[in-house]
């Protein structure tokens, strides 16, 4: 099986704004991938490139071993639910299922029907009259019943209330488990993804910060709290991701293949949310530093 997504120095530029830069990434098959990053980090751009809605301005990308949206076969292999889960407002729920049936060779009518019944959607209802949560569920149904090998969901739960959010993710996980589909879903909230993802990609200010299996990432990262000291005083096989100093104390977030040796410090694992936030802060910080340097250069 080929990688879900294989990107090589992928970039997208809108005029002068770089939406995605130097993104090199290989996601092995069979994962539920969470794509996290603050708003405007380039998540949507990456997902749109992956499903062929956008063409990259630099670099290469293969999804399931093929160019995105190259031909009808490739289109059939990928299901995509765009941000804000668009549906045709004047078409009824039943029309959307018919649309899926007419336009997709592998359409699973039984699955679609069962999901609509389970969700208690009225087939005659116009999609424009559905609630946000129902619309998201309808869009997911159309994408899932297409029987794709990979589902790409762009902030599918962003506009949903907590209850609808939970029910949407539960339905998603059910159909993923049944069909063995790979999934990439994005969110700016780690808590949305924590329960469902086993692979994490962190994107901040158009650059890739971190990618890997969630369990590995959690195992590799530690928070070390110790008396105040310099980064260079730590064991050299630990990569310092983040350092914070008070008058007496230093806190480091480090990455290492093995557990840090015992020393005059306390080493602990991080929660996934803390881990992601650390990388986001670091990226925001280095961005700020780069800007300051530029201003100083200019002087």
């Amino acid at each position: 099986m080929s990688a879900i997504l294989h990107a090589q120095a992928l970039g997208k530029r809108y005029g002068r704004r770089q939406a995605l830069a130097e993104c090199t990434l290989e996601i092995p098959p069979g994962h539920v991938v969470g794509l996290v990053g603050p708003n405007g980090a380039g998540k949507t751009t990456l997902l749109k490139i992956a499903c062929g809605m956008l063409a990259p301005t630099s670099g290469r990308i293969e999804v399931l071993g093929e160019q995105p949206a190259a031909d009808p076969t490739q289109l059939a292999r990928i299901g995509y639910v765009a941000q804000d889960t668009p549906t045709y407002p004047n078409l009824s729920v039943a029309d959307h299922l018919k649309l899926g049936a007419k336009l997709n060779p592998r359409w699973d009518a039984e699955l679609a029907q069962a999901r609509i019944e389970q969700l208690e959607l009225d087939p005659k209802q116009k999609a424009g009259k559905l609630s946000g949560g129902q619309r998201a569920q309808l869009a997911l149904t159309v994408a899932v019943a297409k029987r794709p090998e990979l589902l790409i969901l762009d902030e599918p739960v962003a506009s949903l209330d907590p209850l609808a959010r939970r029910s949407f993710l539960r339905h998603l996980m059910e159909s993923v488990a049944e069909n063995g589909t790979s999934v990439i879903l994005s969110s700016h909230l780690v808590s949305d993804l924590e329960r469902v993802c086993d692979y994490l990609v962190v994107l901040v200010s158009s650059r890739l910060q971190l990618a890997g299996e969630t369990d590995d990432l959690l195992a590799q990262h530690y928070r070390i709290v110790c008396t105040r000291r310099k980064e260079s005083d730590l064991p050299s096989d630990l990569e310092v991701i983040w350092a914070e100093h008070t008058d007496r104390q230093s806190t480091f977030v480090v990455r290492g293949d093995a557990e840090p040796p015992t020393g005059d410090w306390v080493a602990d694992h991080l929660e996934l949310e803390d881990l992601v936030l650390t990388y986001m802060e670091r990226a925001a910080d280095s961005g700020r530093r780069a800007k300051t340097l530029k201003t100083e250069d200019a002087r």
């Binding site: 956008l54 063409a55 059939a76 995509y80 029309d95 007419k102």
Partner: protein, 346 residues
């Protein structure tokens, strides 16, 4: 894909069918009566050898209806561009539903091809039915008018309305594609289409085929066909004679002022002595003026006037050329839609 195109177009199609049915009923109901009275009027007046008065009355009776019917056929392509073309892709981009359509197992080239072909053909069919109805209905009135080149007449008869409809539809489509908003796309479509509909009859249509220019020496035989004198700037200004030698149904594009043997325009008062029946304001008309007599009076002055026109035999070639022109523009705009949708991607 055909199903989806039909499903999205269904409401507009029903509206179009209702309008066409109403128009057909109206044209047939009034047209049969008009055709009948034209035939009887023509028979009776030919017998009496004076058709002008009787047929003018008939023409006058139907004038309001005639103008209304032409307006309908003129407006149809613009309405098609606005209500079928502009939302075709514009609304999808506006509401984000193109992201649904483009992620089914159908390439967006195919998606666009079926939408363009399906609704485009419906546009041409609609305009075709309206044009056919009007061409049939107004047949007798056009006979009375005698010229099929009048701007409104030419644009609303025979085959050009089909090409206008195809063009307006493609124009609306690309406006929606580029602007990504339905309402602005509608406005732009209307503005551009009106601009082109003004430009073409005045600048393009006269030059689609080489026109004929004939220079007439003003004498008894040439002026026997004249039907008026038109002065510019009073009795000391230029003037020209209308109706010279050009056969009926021709499209007079321009005529020079009356000039003397050294090609200088002469003022109207220079020929005053030959114009007994015409007042000092220089306006002339058919009533009371014997132009043949004026001609024989002017014969020895060696005056001439040139008339440029499209003969009536050019009617169908110009219809075809103009239709072809609009269809080429339609093809270019459609091609641009394909290029844009494949290259720009969202």
């Amino acid at each position: 894909m055909i199903w989806l195109t039909w499903r999205q177009f269904r409401a507009q199609a029903v509206a179009a069918v209702v309008i066409l049915a109403a128009a057909t009923a109206y044209f047939v109901a009034t047209g049969l009566g008009m055709h009948h009275s034209y035939a009887t009027d023509l028979a009776s007046c030919t017998a009496q050898n004076d058709c002008d008065t009787l047929l003018s009355q008939l023409r006058y009776k139907y004038d309001a209806m005639f103008n209304l019917a032409e307006l309908l056929v003129v407006a149809a392509p613009a309405l098609i561009g606005i209500f079928w073309g502009a939302p075709l892709i514009g609304r999808e981009l506006e509401t984000g539903t193109h992201q649904v359509a483009w992620n089914q197992s159908v390439t967006r080239t195919r998606w666009l091809a079926i939408k363009l072909a399906g609704v485009g053909l419906a546009s041409m069919a609609t305009a075709g039915v309206l044009s056919y109805l009007l061409t049939w209905w107004a047949g007798p009135l056009d006979q009375i008018d005698g010229s099929r080149f009048a701007a409104m007449t030419f644009s609303t008869r025979d085959i050009v309305p089909l090409a206008y409809a195809a063009f307006a539809f493609a124009l609306g489509t690309i406006a929606g594609l580029l602007l990504r908003r339905t309402i602005p796309a509608m406005a732009v479509t209307l503005a551009v289409f009106i601009g082109i509909q003004v430009l073409v009859p005045t600048m393009i249509r006269p030059n689609l085929l080489p026109s004929t220019t004939v220079t007439y020496t003003l004498d008894e035989s040439s002026l026997s066909q004249a039907n008026g004198i038109f002065g510019q700037g009073g009795s000391s200004g230029d003037f020209y004679m209308s109706g010279l030698g050009v056969s009926q149904g021709a499209w007079v594009l321009s005529s020079t002022p009356v000039e003397n043997s050294s090609d200088q325009p002469i003022p109207l008062n220079a020929i005053q002595s030959c114009l007994p029946a015409i007042g000092p304001n220089g306006k002339g008309g058919r009533g009371g003026t014997d132009f043949a007599q004026v001609g024989s009076c002017l014969a020895h002055d060696n005056l001439h006037e040139s008339v440029t026109y499209q003969p009536s035999s050019h009617y169908w070639p110009i219809q075809w050329f103009e239709s072809g022109l609009f269809l080429v523009l339609t093809a270019l705009l459609s091609g641009a839609c394909f290029w844009w949708i494949r290259r720009r991607q969202n």
